[in-house]
Symmetry: C2
Subunit: 216 residues, 2 copies
């Protein structure tokens, strides 16, 4: 059965980006530590058009997760490069370069109508102006028998979670304290959702991969 | 080598107690969900003078953790029953009953001098008025070749963590959202500490037991 999934790297103090994000450092101070386990993997490098990289249990996990995503839904800031002065142009081309790593249709939530943009390697950005449920519907159709992945940001993921639409949450829990920044779960929004842990994996790179099913 | 350890159950949204704690419900709304995995175990029941309970991988983990604690350090609110109107009497006897589950010397941080109180089953509460380092020193001596456990609250644990005195952190990560309450890690205090994940265990009761070494 087709699922709506969200995966993200979170610090032990619950943050997904560090303090003071900027154009040069969109993950905030220290935020790159959340992704170190991933960017050195063969699976990550291949998606980004790069050769080499480590092959281990983490890499298999990432390959699996890439293989089952048939479409992506993301917020506009995730498309265009975070929140900040560079996020003012509704026609900005985003920060994903000529060959984005998704390699499937990506449905971008926005208030600005715009024609789809096809990139190299299979990624097409489709702009959806009539809300997250419509974007999800279009993504579901595009994904066929594969899953739909939420590409972020955290606010978009929380929106689908609160609406009871998310099926699976995969948290890569990283043993760092960022000491400030963007929190994944804003307490008041996340109450009332029931989860069941379906898997907890100790990674060779010293992080924990925690999979939760949202109980409907 | 003797270690200073802290273990605690935390919700996925980073909380260790729910909203609106009271004398009747010191863990706050929904907070009891954090401890369900533990209170049904034989190891927990035995420490609390009760028969029966489940014996599984969780129970072994808890037994191990109990066996290596030779002394405990805790804050005064943890001794006397949380923050609230019942916390006004410096001579209050606490909420641990006649046979507290610690069964080792417990050093209570307080501003009020007071004679030690010996309870049944091996627990003696010793009141320390000259600060957390002195309390730790006394607990270290009492523990002999065993470890010293921080009994809470979270503010006391963060104080030892920030001072570079904590050696090991064991988080039982529970797949619930409490949606508000007491946060384990206050971002601004926890920056600058380096951790290494030493173990991640998938529990039979659907929680994750995550052990971290504090890198000195």
């Amino acid at each position: 059965m087709q699922k709506l999934t969200f995966e993200i790297s979170m610090s032990l103090d619950g943050l997904i980006a560090g303090p003071n994000p900027s154009l040069e450092n969109p993950l905030g101070e220290g935020g790159e530590q959340l992704h170190e386990w991933g960017v050195r993997l063969a699976a990550w490098r291949e998606a980004h058009g790069l050769a080499g990289g480590e092959r281990n249990a983490d890499s298999s996990l990432m390959e699996e997760s890439q293989a089952r995503a048939g479409a992506v839904v993301m917020g506009r800031k995730m498309f265009s490069g975070g929140e900040g002065p560079w996020d003012q142009d509704p026609n900005a081309d985003g920060w994903w370069g000529e060959e984005p790593p998704f390699r499937v249709p990506v449905f971008v939530l926005t208030h600005h109508e715009r024609d789809p943009v096809a990139k190299e390697g299979g990624t097409t950005f489709v702009f959806v102006t009539d809300g997250p449920e419509t974007a999800l519907q279009q993504a579901r159709e595009a994904a066929g028998d594969k899953d739909v992945a939420i590409g972020g940001g955290a606010d978009v993921a929380r929106q689908y979670l609160s609406a009871g639409l998310l099926d699976e949450l995969l948290i890569h829990l990283i043993p760092v304290f960022l000491g400030g920044g963007v929190r994944l779960f804003e307490p008041l929004e996340s109450g009332g959702v029931e989860l069941e842990q379906t898997q907890a994996i100790e990674s060779p790179s010293g992080v924990a991969h925690l999979t939760y099913r949202v109980v409907k």
